[in-house]
Symmetry: C2
Subunit: 458 residues, 2 copies
Amino acid sequence: MTTDPVLDHIDADLPNAIARLQDLLRIRSISTDPEFADECQRAAEWLVEDLQSIGIDATVRPTPGHPMVVGHMDGPVEAPHILFYGHYDVQPVDPVELWDSDPFDPAVVDGPHGQTIRARGSSDDKGQLMTFVEACRAWKAVHGSLPCRLTILFEGEEESSSPSLVPFLTENADELRADLALICDTGLFQSQTPAIMTMLRGLVAEEVTIHGPARDLHSGMYGGVAMNPIRVLTRVLGGLHDDQGRVTIPGFYDGVPDLDAELAAQWDALGFDHKRFLGDVGLGIPAGEQDRTPLEMIWSRPTAEINGIWGGYTGAGFKTVLPAQAHAKISFRLVGDQDPVAIRAAFRDWITAQLPADCRAEFKLSGGAGGSRMATDHPLFEQTRAALTEEWGDEAAYVGCGGSIPIAGHFKTILCMDALLTGFARDDDNIHSPNEKYDVACFHKGIRSWARMLGKLA
Amino acid sequence: MTTDPVLDHIDADLPNAIARLQDLLRIRSISTDPEFADECQRAAEWLVEDLQSIGIDATVRPTPGHPMVVGHMDGPVEAPHILFYGHYDVQPVDPVELWDSDPFDPAVVDGPHGQTIRARGSSDDKGQLMTFVEACRAWKAVHGSLPCRLTILFEGEEESSSPSLVPFLTENADELRADLALICDTGLFQSQTPAIMTMLRGLVAEEVTIHGPARDLHSGMYGGVAMNPIRVLTRVLGGLHDDQGRVTIPGFYDGVPDLDAELAAQWDALGFDHKRFLGDVGLGIPAGEQDRTPLEMIWSRPTAEINGIWGGYTGAGFKTVLPAQAHAKISFRLVGDQDPVAIRAAFRDWITAQLPADCRAEFKLSGGAGGSRMATDHPLFEQTRAALTEEWGDEAAYVGCGGSIPIAGHFKTILCMDALLTGFARDDDNIHSPNEKYDVACFHKGIRSWARMLGKLA
């Protein structure tokens, strides 16, 4: 079973592959907002039908939240057994007025790197998961079978902290366990070099509400004498970082390893252009710990970010109110052996210790997972690296990743299985932002990359 | 012309007066939200019709914003000429889910001090302005005329910084000028003692937007290296007050007078119970400058308050975003000779000086006025004080007021006219909050107070 005819088939079938992806992108599967639950269900059903059309035995698997999609396909007994993971849910689209077209009406438009598909989820992660599905479709069309045993797992809650994932993996461990997991939810390095992620940051997310007066107050009658919870919230969160960009929560850096010399040298060799990276988004000054390189700030250092803040009057005009509450959503990216449970506890203690005696804080948990490092000595890592290098020309790099893909850790701890993370997103794909896009070239070469990788297993 | 039969008439007509007020309260005249512009117009028309029914020559007077209501009534030539001011616009009603009934379906219910009228605007300021209208109606019904010359001015933009007020006063100065202005938009002292405000705080309001990255970013890809504007905003605003509760903006206290000994002694004699005042709203610790009394914090000291803050993702669930912008609405209560223009400039400089070089701040002005002191040596002050004392039993107090009623300053500077501020609101009226109410006893005794005051002019 050779790869070349599969690649030819992929090239010829590209318009149909784009049309299939557009169908999937039309489904508004925003997982974090309960209003879109039916759309998540519909996305899962669409995927099952598509997988079945390739001959994969796929089903919608209910969970207490949005459903999983699980599929199986047999292959040669001696061939490796691979689990492929992606997620069909997407981020909210607000602020929707900043989109140049309807986020759920996928348009193929001219982009900075040629033709691109603009829609919410095009890059994160519907476009990416379809690269693998299309590679399988082409192998099946050309050779009638795959050169490996395959299990598919598509999740519908990745953008909303994956509440159903751990129970589902635990309950279905025997069915899902494979030799290696392939996770396609990451990007190229600097938009041109294929990359395999060997280091992932974890994530702890917390919502905090500061309660002050029992009701909203008029700032004329109470201003000056009554404590304003927005004042408390800004004072506390304003001290989250020191002048050197370090997070000030006591114990926050417990378990954070220093970068080993070999990896530091590899990363230096990548020639990361932080001025361009930041300049592309209108910034210029690395905001993290001032004694670290910009690449360390993203890949190997923990962070604390305020992802949302609100309180008082935020509408048109002015309202001179002292609100009863003020709120913030804060997330921490974790690395090394930082313990998500300890970080959450330290954050809560740190907030609580700073409150005036007549205010109180209320916390709402929103999931958490530690950072992880991949098993780069697994033979499939080098095979995949070779396939990527052949397809893209540039040598594929082993890199870190600032994002949190807790699934890799769960595969390790629950299924005792290593994971390989690669993907074809570009830095300017605007994931989680208005005008998300996935370049047609990335989609096309992504499909071809997986086809080559499957060819290595033949 | 004696007052007693007027008071009897007021007592007998109270149910009708309440019904008239309820009619006015049903009109959703929220001035800050353009969606309710028609309702503001409707409130003005309702008032004109009601004033005309008493024989006051009233008209709706258009402005670039919401209209004014102006009315005139002749009286004895030798009698004083009085201008009565109130405002028919109201605050927004959010969070509407915290109301026990529809804010615009006025209900007479049992309250903490007997029967009360629950509706947005019942206390601030529709109920208050109707106390004077009802007193005039009763004088007219009993005696056929008023014992003074009267001009009425009702504004529809008091809750949205009064953009049309100064031009309107300037253009119509000759028509509006009188011997003294009566302003009914304040409250009783500690909910039982009638009070005349002799000191008012001014107000400067500013909206600030911190611009960071050119678009919303994913905190996995950019977190740690890209500056988050919420981090900038919380750090800057978190330093707005020092540990002693003082505002830290350079020059902020320029022009703030110390309290003179006589007034300090008067205020001490009032026996202000700050523990109860704060305890009533679930607080306990005076939040202002720690070397000042709680009454000074409210009446004679300037403040800086964050009235609203927002940025990033604030919906259900979590979104690990670094937003492009973060926003806050900040207001300053001013006293003495603090210059609103200088305060605004100092605030803007203070923010700008603290920004990282790759962030910028944008400011939106929202009106401003300095603090003011009343001409307590005007003979009508002592006459009004006597009328209030007769009606309420407790001696009427000369007090300060934490709120900002810039109209008093405008009357002085534009119309060269002093103003007397009194009113019958209670501390627990929930003005600007859910479940605003105006006690029937306050409405009733308020009408009787004005009737007695008119009697002093006869």
